[in-house]
Amino acid sequence: MIWAIYFAIASLLAIGIYGVITKKNLMKIFISISIMETGVNLMLIAIGYIPGGTAPIENGDFTTYVDPLPQALVLTAIVIGVSVLALALVMVINYYEKNKTLEYRRLMKW
């Protein structure tokens, strides 16, 4: 099971970086970044997974729990992701108002 999730993580990250590099459309770029963020969140959780463990909420008689720390980190990361996404898209709206296009050609220019 864990390898399925590893596959999902790696593909989400790879597809995200592919999108960021190849696309010129700003909305697409930020969509790709949000996909990458999803991937990395999944990655942290997968690293905290312990086979046979259950959620670290201790009501009931369980013996093994998964690692709670990455879950707390991912909670943080998800909210950071959504707030950065909102700010980014608002900037895209501003950019569109000024230029009447979503194409952004200067990204690769160093």
Binding site: I33, M43, L44, D67, L69, P70, M91, V92, N94, Y104
Partner: protein, 443 residues
């Protein structure tokens, strides 16, 4: 007297939250920055006399988070808060949102420097980055937006890569405390190497090192003068300090070599690119990149020579102060009043590395260190870059000296104060003493 470094972060956050209710944005911000500066100086005094300071938050580390303040962190905290205070004086029209974002950027840069936990550092990086995005776009014109968007794309990718690095690091050590990780670090497994690579890439975006600094010229060009100044002494300095800590965590020869080669590339490319620029802010931005390369070179010698740490101190402080002054001046066409002229000339001299200034001592000690290591090509690179720097700054001075533009006193004095700081730091043996007595970058 007990000093709580956490107040350096908590107070600005509290007042940033309260700003919409308080309304008097300018006065409140100035008071808080002043308070922070004083607190940081007090903290520095304490650390300088009594050794490193801890502040546990909620639970003792590594179960909880703690702040760890050693000499250099305290000095950086003083520097960031003091320069932020001076810089804020130059802003004439303060809106509430501007003040909020400014406070958050300052507080988070301080946080990056004094935190002792790697994920906490990531969170502060995010605050710094998000507030910088908004501040860069503050003018809302075409240039500002383009710069902000470029910064944002690279910054978001950087945050993802940093998280990947943290994930690998965590999977190896199952702890997030920097000191704990450093203690348990032995020969690098694949995961640790990968995590180093990802973390370096992630932080490198913020610290403006070579292949990742595409955003720098655009963002600095788009931002207003005071904001560009804030970026150059706030988040980016915190970022380079984070890289220093990273190098201390992963202290292998290979990582120092990597830092050295990246540093030299950054230095040369930055200075050469600055030479080609017409736009003043762009030129200053590229020059910043070059200086970051210089700082990185000094970091890469940490393991081999004692001069490195002194050079690091000098370069960091002098570059922050003088670049801050120049960015403030870049808002206007020419220097205008005498105070501005003085500020411009002193800052430029410090950046080039003229003898009495702090910048000179930075370069001097790097060269000393390189001579000790017998790495002549480092010296060659530094000398060459200084020549290039001298060339384009001469051109800069020759154009700006001629043009006169009347500036109000409020706009003229902050850069002059910053320049005076550079001058004083060069003349007084203050930094040298700190660096030789307690200059150990701890994790």
């Amino acid at each position: 007297m007990v000093i709580h470094p956490v107040l350096l972060i908590a107070i600005p956050l509290l007042f940033a939250f309260l700003m919409p209710l308080l309304k008097r944005a300018k006065a409140v911000t100035i008071i808080i920055l002043l308070f922070n500066t004083l607190l940081a100086i007090l903290m520095f005094h304490n650390v300088y006399n009594n050794g490193p300071l801890y502040e546990i938050i909620a639970f003792s580390p590594p179960i909880g988070i703690y702040l760890y303040v050693d000499n250099i962190a305290a000095l950086l905290a003083v520097m960031i808060n003091l320069l932020a205070f001076i810089n804020f004086l130059s802003v004439e029209k303060v809106e509430i949102k501007f003040a909020m974002l400014y406070l958050l950027a300052v507080a988070s840069s301080t946080g990056i420097v004094i935190t002792g936990d790697i994920f906490n550092m990531f969170v502060f990086f995010e605050i710094a980055a998000v507030s910088s995005y908004a501040l860069v776009a503050w003018k809302r014109d075409k240039e500002a937006l383009e710069g902000a968007i470029k910064y944002m794309v690279l910054g978001s990718i950087a945050s993802v890569l940093m998280l990947v690095g943290i994930a690998f690091l965590y999977s190896e050590f199952r702890s997030l405390n920097i000191y704990d990780i450093m203690n348990r670090m032995d020969e690098g497994s694949v995961l640790i190497l990968l995590s180093f690579a990802f973390l370096l890439t992630g932080i490198g975006v913020e610290a403006e090192i070579f292949p990742l600094n595409g955003w720098v010229p655009d963002a600095y060009q788009g931002a207003a003068g005071s904001i560009a100044s804030l970026l150059s002494f706030g988040p980016s300095k915190a970022g380079i300090y984070a890289i220093a800590r990273l190098l201390m965590i992963f202290s292998w020869q290979q990582s120092y070599d990597l830092a050295l080669s990246v540093g030299i590339m950054t230095l040369l490319i930055g200075e050469l690119a600055a030479f080609r620029q017409e736009n003043v802010k762009r030129m200053l931005a590229y020059s910043s990149i070059g200086q970051m390369g210089l700082i990185l070179i000094s970091l890469s010698m940490l393991d081999s020579t004692d001069y490195a740490i002194i050079a690091f101190f000098f370069l960091l402080v002098s570059h922050a102060a003088s670049k801050g002054a120049l960015f403030l001046l870049s808002e206007r066409k020419g220097f205008g009043s005498n105070a501005s002229k003085y500020a411009g000339i002193v800052s430029v001299m410090s950046l080039i590395g003229m003898p009495p200034m702090a910048g000179f001592w930075g370069k001097w000690y790097i060269i000393m260190g390189a001579m000790q290591m017998e790495a002549w090509w480092i010296i060659a690179a530094i000398v060459f870059s200084s020549v290039v720097e001298a060339a384009y700054f001469a051109r800069y001075l020759s154009t700006t000296m001629q043009e006169e533009e009347h500036a109000s006193i409020i706009a003229a004095y902050p850069p002059a104060i910053m320049a005076t700081l550079t001058l004083l730091l060069g003349i007084l043996p203050f930094i040298y003493k700190i660096a030789t007595i307690g200059g150990v970058i701890n994790g």
